[in-house]
């Protein structure tokens, strides 16, 4: 560790994570009382401090509104993707055109790449299969590729990766 | 209305679980069987939740949460085991 950490950075390394843990505890016990809020806050205080050593470098969330927009786009795409996959399931499976695609990444942050590959797996007809950290590419499997490779890559870049880059700066 | 929707939903989920069992029995590779078990777990959660509504208990969410956790950890452990080979990644 380089330099001296400030008091706040030492005892409260991840304020958002602390709040998340407290809310998680309240949802788990399914009741909002003073005692449960105190226990939740205590957990939110202890867990980030105790596990500080295990965390990779922090990914800073730069802006809040692109995140909301991203989640909304994602939910919409998940619903659409289900219609697409459902139609393909009911059709003649002989007509499928499956393909592997190598996707070049522009993102640098590990956390952002994790979110991107998760997003790819949840959206229409694509599953991420392998991440190669050396050439910085993702290997995708496409269920039914009607266009060419560039179209698939362009769509993912335009729809998700651009937004993630805005979020993580 | 809910009283007769739940048996239908349960029936559909049971049919889905039968499909999973078919893939579990046939699945040419072991990884197909892992996928079938994973899907079976997810459907099992839904069946538990539906049974909970049917009996109007509202107390077996811990069971559903545990099955979700176990299903995920089991799948990841299984794939980790399959990945641990002599081929360099």
């Amino acid at each position: 560790m380089s330099g001296k950490l400030s008091l706040r950075a030492y005892w409260l390394p991840r304020p958002l994570f602390s709040v998340f843990l407290a809310v998680l505890w309240l949802a788990l016990v399914n009741s909002v009382s003073v005692a449960n809020i105190l226990v939740g806050l205590a957990l939110g205080f202890v867990i980030p401090v105790a596990t500080r050593g295990f965390w990779p470098e922090r990914a800073r969330l730069q802006r809040f509104w692109p995140m909301v927009e991203y989640v909304l786009v994602l939910v919409w795409d998940i619903i659409c993707s289900n219609f697409v996959v459902a139609r393909l399931t009911l059709q003649r499976t002989r007509n499928l055109k499956p393909s592997f695609v190598t996707y070049p990444l522009d993102l640098h942050d590990d956390f952002a790449i994790t979110i991107l590959s998760g997003t790819i797996s949840l959206t229409p007809g694509t599953v991420s299969a392998h991440y190669d950290p050396e050439s910085r590419t993702l290997l995708l499997h496409v269920l039914n590729m009607t266009g060419d490779e560039a179209a698939v890559i362009g769509q993912i870049k335009q729809r998700y990766e651009r937004r993630l880059q805005e979020m993580f700066g | 209305m809910i009283a007769w929707v739940i048996p239908i939903a349960l029936g559909l989920f049971s049919l889905g679980m039968l499909f999973c069992l078919y893939r579990l029995a046939v699945g040419p590779d072991i990884i197909d069987r892992v996928l079938a078990l994973d899907t079976l777990m997810i459907n099992g959660i839904a069946v538990i939740v539906l049974a909970d509504i049917q009996m109007a208990l509202g107390i077996i969410f811990e069971a559903a949460l545990l099955i979700a956790l176990m299903g995920f950890i089991g799948t990841v452990a299984m794939t980790k085991y399959l990945l641990r080979g002599d081929v360099i990644e």
């Binding site: 991420s128 392998h130 | 794939t79 399959l82």
Partner: protein, 116 residues
């Protein structure tokens, strides 16, 4: 069933959620049976089953929020957990399948091991 009266709008909403969820999940498992190779089979359950069970859980959440006091939040927890873990386990399974050189159907374009 309890004898708590549920407004018919909510009852309809719950019924729709439960039915749609069951149908979507059934389609997901049907894909598990019908698709020709492992990589295509992976697509159906990761998307459809997750959304199907998510719908069922939402229906259950509305139901228990109506018949009990207060909001039932545990279902949201399970749904979120499923949506976070589904892509991770799909990624792991695809990786394991690639590692084991599980065969894809012949017409798959650009199989990663054909270049070697």
């Amino acid at each position: 069933m309890t004898d708590v009266a549920i407004p018919w709008v909510l009852e309809l909403l719950i019924a729709v959620f439960l039915l749609v969820g069951a149908l979507v999940a059934l389609l997901g498992t049907l894909g598990l049976v019908r698709f020709p190779d492992f990589y295509t089979r992976l697509h159906a359950p990761t998307k459809a089953s997750t959304l199907g069970v998510g719908c069922t859980l939402l229906g259950s959440m509305i139901y228990f929020s109506v018949i009990k006091e207060g909001i039932s939040a545990q279902e949201v927890l399970i749904t979120l957990f499923l949506f976070v873990t589904a892509p991770v386990s799909a990624h792991m399974m695809a990786k394991a399948a690639l590692h084991r050189r599980v065969n894809a159907v012949k017409r798959t374009r650009q199989t990663p091991w054909s270049e070697e």
